[in-house]
């Protein structure tokens, strides 16, 4: 069954006329995702990739196409507003790939969209993949096969490593959700765990975390009382020093909290298997 995206997803691409947007729209289109339109203010009226109409606003695009999802490939200085526009137009699923959005912008966005009935994934994330059906974002389509493992991750290429390891072991994924590496984002581990627990196709769950914040610790507490399916985890950053931002804005150990070890202990205490590296995941499942 999968979660959040499938063959019925009707997708808008915000920023479709930019180089990132166009490149990835092409990849998603080739994978089989139904891209019903693109939105770039000021560039509306034409077509891209032979048959995808470009609109100036989300409201126009939604009205014309019946879109039910949007993916954002807009530069950081404009991305928060792109999220707001999609939420204002009541697009139920908004996936923001953009890295580098100022954190105060994201706090303002969250406090607006928390009152709307929309789901934001990201920002600073690779997006979602339901193998064989739909790809929203930049996760390469050929590294995963359909199956029964739900994958949730804060990372980009580390997620690919895991999907690939599963594929090589003949294991497939129901849906892979990249929640991204920013400290303030739209969807956390618990949000996705709930969806996987309720999804008949998902029988096992893989959770990929990293240093910074306490999302893994809160997920562990939630798993203890609410998740019956087996959860296997990998947490990156055992070797990370304190006080330094390790790439992702959210990957930083501050005031002694957010260490990999603390997260690993919390997840183990909740009954999860925590592996030492990604290649151990297929065996652990």
């Amino acid at each position: 069954m999968s979660i959040l995206i499938n063959k019925d997803t009707r997708l808008l691409v915000q920023g479709i006329t930019g180089s990132e947007g166009l490149f990835h729209a092409k990849q998603m289109h080739a994978y089989g995702t139904k891209i019903v339109g693109g939105v770039t203010p000021g560039k509306g009226g034409g077509l891209v990739l032979d048959d995808i109409p470009v609109f100036d606003t989300i409201k126009q695009a939604k009205k014309a196409t019946g879109a039910n999802a949007s993916v954002i490939f807009v530069p950081a200085r404009f991305a928060a507003e792109a999220i707001l526009e999609a939420a204002d137009a009541a697009i139920p699923l908004i996936v923001c790939i953009t890295e580098g959005i100022p954190v105060q912008d994201m706090m303002r966005v969250r406090n607006y969209i928390d009152h709307k009935n929309v789901r934001l994934i990201g920002p600073n994330c690779p997006g979602l993949l339901t193998p064989g059906e739909c790809k929203v974002g930049i996760i390469p389509g050929n590294i995963a096969i359909p199956g029964n493992v739900g994958v949730i991750s804060r990372s980009g290429t580390l997620t690919y490593e895991v999907l690939y390891a599963l594929k090589l072991a003949g294991m497939g994924s129901s849906t892979c959700v990249g929640i991204g590496g920013d400290p303030v984002n739209g969807t956390n581990f618990i949000d996705v765990l709930k969806l996987f627990e309720a999804d008949p196709q998902t029988e096992k769950i893989v959770l990929i975390g990293e240093i910074g914040g306490s999302d893994e610790e809160r997920a562990a507490e939630f798993i203890k009382h609410n998740i019956t399916k087996p959860v296997v985890c990998f947490i990156a950053g055992r070797t990370a020093p304190t006080g330094k931002r390790m790439g992702h804005a959210g990957a930083i150990i501050e005031g002694g909290s957010g260490t990999a070890l603390d997260k690993i202990k919390a997840l183990q205490a909740a009954g999860c298997t925590v592996v030492r590296h990604p290649e151990e995941i297929p065996e652990a499942l």
Binding site: G156, T157, A236
Partner: protein
């Protein structure tokens, strides 16, 4: 990005927060001059971006300009926790009756800023949180509604502030909020905010940390980055759009993706060695960036082996190979390089590197094991 106390205080002052009269000096003679202008006792404060300056002897009280000259001279010659003291702030000394903590930071799990006050000022707030958490008052701020005056009354009441100070405390809170908001700070802190013998509130210290993702909005602050906090290599990396952190080990790493880079470092440790650095070349890196990255890694004399792990999604393995070959033209590495390429154009990339005398690996585990083995030999 951290900025110095004297800059944070200037920002606070421009938002209506009272700070002591004072100026910055780079030489003992300048410090003496400032002490003469201020008259009376002064506090000489080393401007270094670490905590524990006082304990390290970097904050001293001087009773006259001559003593200021001597003490400033000492402090300007110091290194505190490895950082050279290049400037001192010479502030007029205050008559401190009570010390308060006041700060605003991001609560990432609530996705809101939070304003924090405590009557236990002057100490590390984490220490207060550990020992006497009931002394800390926290109020979350709705970023769309912003800080309301009644929030400042709740804080004042919570820390037992006498009513005569509520009005000025409220103004200081609002000033702190606006400074935090307008400069895109992740932390704006006054510790201590003091009640003086003259019955006034005064911000004796100031600390602001800026959101790196928002520096493009504040170019006048971005240029104030203290480069002493980075190594030369880290500065060069940042200027080229690479994410680089120097560590103490002997295996240099180049990876595309922060999570994968951390996992690669962890793997090296798992197999018995230590990483020499964290380096994320990011998504879609081009050949010149890869060349720069390899140069930076090889410039570290501690490096005994290099591990390159690329899982190409947007990043193209042939582009990475091109960059590596260009680097090898310029620098003949004296250390072995282990390379593992997977994903977009991996075959092309491997073919290009076939004659480059590199050790190849299929899986990340193999790559890490090989790198550790050659570093030892």
């Amino acid at each position: 990005m951290k900025i110095h106390e004297y800059l944070s205080k200037q920002i606070f002052a421009s938002h209506g927060i009272p700070i002591p009269r004072g100026k910055v000096a780079a030489r003992a003679a300048e410090a003496r001059q400032i002490a003469e202008e201020l008259g009376g006792y002064v506090v000489i404060k080393s401007q270094v971006l670490v905590g524990g300056r006082g304990k390290a002897g970097g904050i001293k009280l001087a009773k006259n300009p001559d003593e200021t000259y001597d003490l400033a001279g000492n402090i300007l010659n110091m290194e505190i926790k490895g950082l050279p003291v290049r400037k001192v702030l010479v502030d007029e000394a205050a008559d401190i009756q009570h010390e308060i903590y006041l700060g605003i930071t991001n609560d990432r799990s609530e996705a809101k800023p939070v304003i924090i006050a405590s009557a236990a000022g002057g100490m590390e707030i984490e220490e207060v949180a550990r020992q006497t958490p009931e002394k800390i008052i926290k109020i979350h701020i709705d970023p769309l509604l912003e800080l309301q005056d009644y929030h400042t009354h709740d804080l004042a009441a919570g820390i037992g502030l006498p009513r005569e100070y509520w009005l000025s405390f409220g103004r200081i809170c609002q000033g702190l909020w606006k400074a935090y908001r307008d400069k895109d700070a992740t932390l704006a802190e006054i510790n201590p905010l003091v009640i003086t013998g003259g019955h006034e509130l005064l911000a004796l210290d100031g600390k602001i940390i800026l959101d790196d993702n928002a520096l493009w909005r504040h170019p006048e602050l971005a240029v104030l980055r203290d480069l002493d906090l980075e190594t030369q290599v880290e500065t060069t990396a940042r200027e080229h759009g690479l994410s680089f952190i120097k560590l103490d080990g002997n295996i240099g790493c180049m990876v595309n993706g922060a999570g994968l880079a951390m996992a690669t470092m962890d793997m090296i440790q798992l197999f018995g060695a230590e990483p020499a650095n964290f380096l994320d070349i990011g998504g879609g890196a081009d050949a010149p960036m890869v060349t720069t990255a390899l140069h930076l890694i090889l410039s570290d004399p501690n490096v005994k082996a290099v591990l390159i792990n690329i899982f190409g999604g947007i990043t193209r393995c042939d582009e990475v190979a091109k960059g590596i070959l260009a680097a090898l033209e310029e620098v003949q590495p004296k250390v072995p390089i282990v390379i593992r390429l997977v994903g977009t154009n991996a075959e092309e990339g491997r073919l290009m590197l076939a004659n480059a005398h590199m050790i190849t690996a299929e899986t990340l585990v193999q790559a890490a094991q090989k790198a550790v083995a050659v570093a030892k030999s």
